[in-house]
Every structure is written in structure tokens, then in C-alpha cells.
Symmetry: C2
């Protein structure tokens, strides 16, 4: 499948760009400027009927006059001229396109639907395969390519996001960044006049830098092909989805958005179940689960160790795990004794393990390892890292003494955090962190950078672990 049509679209070496001019206030120009501002290393050939240069690049009146090979064309043109641009591409032998322009099948009645049919005819005639129309473009970390109007996603090996909503791909990059997630590709499929979600699933099987896939679904246009492609993909990597067409107004909105004919919630639950796709309740849960499945090792049973330095968060993690269907079993007397021997007398070692106020997180790491190696837990949830915010206020009062405190911090604390962050990779121990701060807190940044998820509620922690457990069970 390395010759899948999406392969070249997501990894082009050269682009023709229709619809950019030297007027930055136009959407086409905004998109091309954004493309130039990203790190794409390939060639970009603007196509413009009148301008000789667009944004300091030589422009060509038609694709046929570009004297170099072109892998993919990006079109941000007025609706009515898109078919003839596609004709131009065909003549030039360019067979891959991303059609961002809207005004097609999603407009009820009249011209739009007719123009979309014409697109498909022209494409068939010339063997062109395309994404769109009415999409927001693509992001490809490996190709350093971003044709959306927004800044780059936090890129790397990790997640692919195929979506019937453009906004959900590029306008959520900040949400991904807060999660510490690493995005390999985003594909906004728009009206799916040619390539659709099923194609994305087929294509992603052999994308080695994609380890976890998520989908935003308003409608599945080819259910049989979708299920077949999903089952194949799910054998190789986890797939998670949200579906928003399952209510009356959701269906109405989907129809107006991408001409998508939705079905009942039950019907789609059935399709996703058959396809082996996990269903998330909303975009935050979609991202939480997708990132957890991208990064944590398998969870071989349903027993969670809850480790905390504070009672309330410990009780909350225990409660939410059990509410979500996991178990938080009391540890054996032997294990409790072992833990007690390392901890202060006021510590509680039954599970949750409450280490109480402690700066020495190397100890916390040892405790997690002892629990995991005891075989009495299959995963851990951890609470209790605070960054310099804990002492920053004090510096106003104790400018000197604070140095020694900061010294304690850097020697023990941050080293401890770093060691804890390595637990999943070193021990094969699935673990996530609860923190009410995000990446603005240094310990969280260290944890996230090492691929351990950090969530801001106990419920999110628990639901991510349930998804991991389900995935691990399915793959056993």
C-alpha cells in the first residue's frame, strides 16, 4: 500500500499552489503564506493567471507550464473555476490534489452539487485522486508540510487524525500541545468527493511513524469498505473515534457541513464496534485516549495502583477507576510491609498509597517499581508533582533561603520526576499522571516529553486507562 494515493499527497516533494496572490487578505494567500512559514523543504510553484511572481516565487499561468515535476496540487480557488483547474492538472499530468475550496455538495440545492459531480468526472478522466473539496488541508510532520491556515501541530512520531471537520484538525493543535501529544499527520477530508475516511484507514496501515489513529465522524459514506479497512488497521494500531451525527440537530448540522447523511447513534455504535474502533464521548476524551494508546505499553489486567502525596486526589483516582470498571485492590500484607519500610509512619500503603509530604521522588519511583514488580498491579496513576510555583511565592520573603530549597528541588525533585517518567519504557509499566497544572509546570513538561500522559482530572486518567485495558485485551 506504499503506492496508496494518499501516500504522495501526505509526502510530496513539490507542490503547485492555485489561489494565492500578493493580496494577503485573501484566504488562498493566507494559506500559502502559512505554508511558506512552515518548514516545507520541497518546491512550491504558484499558479496564477496574471501575476508573474507570487510571494517572491515565480508564478505560472497554468500547471502545464511548470517546467518541473509536480507531485501534488493545492487548490484554494473560487468554486466555479475549480473544475477547469483540475482539467489543467490533468493536462499537466499531475494526479494528486488537495481541494480546499468550498461551495460544493455542502450547499443545499442548485449549483454546488453539480460542480462537485463535475470535479469527480474530470478527476476520473485524468486519473486524479484528491482530498476535499471543502476541507481545510493537511499537516504532515515527516514532510514538514502544513497547508492549513494555522500554525504547525506539535509534530513527531505518534498520532494521525483523519477528520470530517477541518476545524477539529488544525484548530485543536493547542489542545494537543497541552496534552504533550505528538502529531504525525492530520487529514481534513471535507466533502469526500473522492478520497474518504475509509481510504485514510487503508493508507495509514503502512505509515510507520503513525502509532495511534483518531477520527472525527459525521457520516460514514462507504460502511463496508470502512469496516474492512478499519479491521485491518486496528490489527496494527489503535483507532479511536467520535461521532456527532447521532442526534437530530447533529445530523442536520452534518448535512449542511459536509453533505454527510448521518445515521442513528445505535447504527454507528454498531459500525464502530464491528470495526474494532474505540468510541470517545468528546474531543478531549478522543485526544486523551488516542495519546494514551500511542504511547503507553499494554495493560495486562484491570488492577490499578494509585500513588499520591495527597488524600483527595488519591481518593478521587481510586473512585474514578472503579466507576470506570477497573479495580483498585488492597495490596497484600507483604507488599504493604515492604512499602511501609520505605515510607514515613504516617504514610498509608493499602492502595491508594499515600506517601504524604515528601520531596524525594526517587523514593516514589522505587515505590512504583516495587508495586509493579510485585505483580499486584497492572498500571499506576500518580499524583503529586509540583514545580517551582510551589516555592515562587516564598522567594518574595526568603530570597536567600529559597536557594537551598531550589537546590533540594533540582537535586531530588526534578531527577525524581525524570526517573518516574521513564517507568513505562523501562519497566513496561503503564502509568499516567494526574495534575491540576498543565505544561506550564516544569515537572509536567518532563513527564510529557517522555511520553507519559498527564491529565487534569481523575476521571480522564481512569477513562484513558480503561481504553488502554480494552485495547490490550483485544490484542492479547
Amino acid at each position: 500500500m506504499k503506492d496508496h494515493p494518499l501516500r504522495k499527497i501526505m509526502h510530496p516533494r513539490s507542490l503547485a499552489f492555485y489561489g494565492a496572490s500578493n493580496n494577503i487578505l485573501k484566504m488562498g494567500s493566507i494559506l500559502m503564506a502559512n505554508l511558506l512559514a512552515s518548514d516545507f523543504q520541497g518546491s512550491i510553484y504558484p499558479v496564477h493567471l496574471k501575476e508573474k511572481q507570487v510571494m517572491n516565487l515565480q508564478a505560472y499561468p497554468r500547471a502545464q507550464e511548470i517546467p518541473h515535476p509536480v507531485d501534488v496540487a493545492v487548490l484554494v480557488l473560487p468554486t466555479e473555476v475549480v473544475p477547469e483547474a483540475l482539467e489543467d492538472l490533468g493536462q499537466a499530468g499531475i494526479q494528486r490534489a488537495v481541494i480546499i475550496s468550498g461551495g460544493f455538495g455542502e450547499i443545499p440545492g442548485g449549483e454546488g452539487g453539480r460542480l462537485q459531480k463535475r470535479l469527480v468526472e474530470v478527476a476520473r478522466e485524468h486519473g486524479i485522486r484528491f482530498i476535499g473539496p471543502n476541507c481545510i488541508g493537511i499537516f504532515s510532520h515527516d514532510a514538514s508540510l502544513n497547508t492549513t491556515p494555522f500554525g504547525n501541530a506539535p509534530g513527531g512520531k505518534g498520532i494521525a487524525f483523519a477528520s470530517q471537520s477541518g476545524a477539529f484538525t488544525c484548530q485543536t493543535y493547542e489542545l494537543w500541545r497541552k496534552l504533550g501529544a505528538s502529531i504525525n499527520q492530520t487529514i481534513s477530508v471535507g466533502n469526500e468527493a473522492d478520497l474518504d475516511l475509509a481510504d485514510c484507514l487503508e493508507y495509514l496501515v503502512e505509515e510507520d511513524n503513525v502509532t495511534s489513529v483518531c477520527l472525527y465522524i459525521e457520516s460514514i459514506r462507504r460502511p463496508r469498505q470502512f469496516i474492512r479497512a478499519a479491521r485491518r488497521l486496528v490489527e496494527a494500531k489503535p483507532v479511536t473515534a467520535i461521532y456527532v451525527g447521532g442526534t437530530e440537530a447533529g445530523a442536520r448540522a452534518s448535512l449542511s457541513h459536509t453533505a454527510a447523511i448521518s445515521g442513528s447513534e445505535e447504527l454507528y455504535d454498531g459500525i464502530l464496534r464491528q470495526a474494532g474502533i474505540a468510541k470517545a464521548k468528546d474531543v478531549e476524551e478522543l485526544f486523551d485516549i488516542t495519546w494514551t494508546l500511542a504511547t503507553l505499553p499494554p495493560m495486562k489486567g484491570d488492577r490499578v495502583a494509585v500513588i499520591t502525596n495527597s488524600g483527595g486526589p488519591g481518593a478521587s483516582m481510586a473512585y474514578q477507576c472503579e466507576k470506570a470498571g477497573l479495580r483498585v485492590p488492597s495490596f497484600s500484607a507483604a507488599l504493604q510491609d515492604k512499602l511501609h519500610s520505605l515510607l514515613p509512619p504516617t504514610a498509608y500503603c493499602v492502595n491508594p498509597v499515600d506517601i504524604t509530604y515528601a520531596l524525594n521522588l526517587l523514593l516514589l519511583r522505587d515505590i512504583a517499581q516495587i508495586i509493579f514488580e510485585s505483580g499486584e498491579a497492572d498500571a499506576a496513576l500518580i499524583y503529586g508533582f509540583f514545580g517551582k510555583e510551589f516555592v515562587s511565592n516564598l522567594a518574595k520573603v526568603f530570597p536567600d533561603a529559597i536557594e537551598s530549597f531550589a537546590g533540594v528541588q533540582s537535586d531530588f525533585f526534578l531527577t525524581g520526576v525524570q526517573e518516574i517518567a521513564l517507568l513505562p519504557k523501562q519497566l513496561g509499566m503503564p502509568a499516567a499522571v494526574l495534575s491540576f497544572s498543565g505544561p506550564e509546570s516544569e515537572p509536567n513538561r518532563i513527564i510529557m516529553r517522555n511520553g507519559m500522559p498527564v491529565f487534569s482530572s481523575a476521571r480522564r486518567c481512569a477513562r484513558a486507562l480503561v481504553a488502554l485495558r480494552n485495547r490490550s485485551r483485544a490484542m492479547q
Copy 2:
């Protein structure tokens, strides 16, 4: 109730502080340094057996020797000396205390329980009322007082948070800040040896700067008094709670945390229902709902107008509202015509209303007003504000042209955002915003500053509106 014992504790003019020294690495010192770093305007009298000065303040060996009136004592002492310190307070005629020290009833078996009983005896003897022991302290915006080890909450008129978890009060300040919420008071009640959650509910009735109350509950020690106090408070202001004692491990953790005897989920659901308290699923929902109820006007029916510039977020908001039990009705032909006359031809006006790509948000404000005044919707959810992040990348390519774009931004865009933010107050229209960015985006900051909630998922928007609708119905 202005003479409620908590009144003076939360609004003291002077404090005695037990347990701080000149060694910053001790918890007592950290807390007092944090107190000094906050803006407390009253007097602080350290009590220390040996030191003449603590952190440059004159220290006294016993409270009885402080030659000024003292409203409240804060105790961060080793467990075993707390009873005699309380005795000292009694001798000095100081009748209000916050006992932060732990090691009491929460430690199973042995000395802790006995010492806690002794505390209560000494307090009764001297007429002392106290919070704790085993709590993390209090935050009072009106008194500029913060006895917790963390930086100040985002303070103002708004929320009171009474909690059986100390961590959930002061360690979540950043979570509140991201929500744009304004906190008036936080009370960590600890083991509740004297004052408990029921007392907090009684006390908060007449706190005029508290408009919405939330609770973290592991156990309700006096159910009858709790329900009675809650029903009275709920007539004046909304109360929302999370309960984490309702599973086996949740109960076990609660017992070890604050010696709380939990009950089944069903029992507590019943208590909360009788009390008129809304129940949230987790801390994020608790905060979302509490802030929404603190700031939005009543929602008089269950019809939501969904307004967006992007299809996916619109479909998601419509779907989540219906899933949550609200309605997203199609607008009348007359209203649709009126909206169409203001919007580009590609706009969709049925509900969701998709205005498509538009920079003129003054128009968006007018559209929201027309919908609300039509009487066809009882609340609005809005998506589509982006800050300079939208154009920041372009500046790399178009350093000059970007100026004109930024000009468009400031003239239309931010003014429009400001106008939209005023909708709830000007029209009595409940409205919230969906944004995948937080307060790092300027439009969101403007919205939040004006008290309109901003949530990062459509589900959170919908669940907050449901809580508002329930509250409004109960108050009708």
C-alpha cells in the same frame, strides 16, 4: 448569621501563627512565608518558644503574651503539642483557629484519635471553634488572606469552595485560572473535628460576595444538618458537589484521608438530591458548572442556539446539547430569512447557524441578539474566535501586509469579541464559548474577563448549560 464562627475565621484582622521558624525548609515556615507573600493587611504575630523574631516579625513564646487583640490562630505544629497550644489560645481568649497539623483521627488506631478527642475537649472548654485538624488552610479574597502553601487563587466576587480535600482547594488554583473563574473563598475542612461542611453551608448564606458554591465530599458527617443547611443555602445561591466515597477503594481512601465514613453512591445521590445540590462527575465538571452558575443569567427554557464559523464544532455543539437533554430546534422561516439577509449566501441559518469565514464579529453579535430577541432560543453556544495565533505565522512571510491584517483584527475582531462578551449582562442571554485554546488566546481572555465561560469541548459546554437550566427551573 454574620456572627457565624466561620465569619471571623474567613475575615480576620489579626492572626497568631504557631509553627513557623526561621528555617524555611519546615512546612510551618513555608506556610507563613506564603502568607507574608500574599497581601494580608492585618497583623501577624508568630508564636515561638525560643525565637525572638520569626521572619523579621516579633515573636511571642505564648499567645497570652501578645499585647494586641488576635482574631484567629493558625497552627502548623507537631501533632502532640497542638492540644496545649489550643489551651494557650483559650487562656489568651482567642476563640477561632485553623489547625493545619495532621496526625490525628486520620491515622488508624492509637494516639491520633485520642489527641483529636482532646482537641475537641479543650476547644469546648474555652469556647474555641476551629477548622481542621489535618487541613491545608484557607483562602479569603476579601481578607487578602492565604494560609495554604500555594499561590493565591484568582480572586474576586464569585465562588466559594468548601472541601474535604486540601489539595483540591489550593492545588487547583491554576485550573480555576484557566477557566477564567473568580474565587472568593476556599475552605479546607480536613478531619472536621469541629466545624464541618454543614457549617460551611450555613455560613455561606450571608456571604454577599459568594455567588456560587462547590463542595468536594468524601463523607457527610451530619446528614440532617447538612441537608437543612444546604436547602437554605440553595435558595440563595447554587451549590454543586462531587462525591468520591461511593466505591470500595474510594471509601477506603477517604477513611485513611480524613477518617471519613463514606456511604454508597445511591445513598449520597439521595442526600444531594434532597439537599438541592447538583452533582458533577469530576473536578473539571464541578468547576465548569460552579463557574457557569456563578456568572450566567437564568436559562428560561431548554432551547439552545448554536452559532459557529466552522461546521465541525457547530455539529458537535448541537449533538452534545441534544445528548445532554437540551434542544437545538430549527429556527422559523422568518428568523432564518432575517439571518440570511445579514450573512453571506454560503451561510447556513437553520440552527446551527454557520456564518462561515468572517472577520466582522460585530455582525456575529447582532446575529446572537436577533436570535435571542426572537424568543426562539433560551441560550447560545458560540464557536469561532481566534487570536493573533491565526496570523502570527504569516508575519514571517508578510511582515508588512500583516500590519493591515492586524488592523482588521483590532478594529473589528477584538471589538466584536468584547461586544459578544457583554451579551449575557446586556440582554440577560445565557451564552458560553467553545474554544480549543485557553486564556493564552486574547479573544478568550476578553470573553472570560467579562464572565462568559469558555470551555474546550462541546460536551463541557452542553453539560454546563444543562446545569444552568436545572438551576433556573428550580428557582422559577
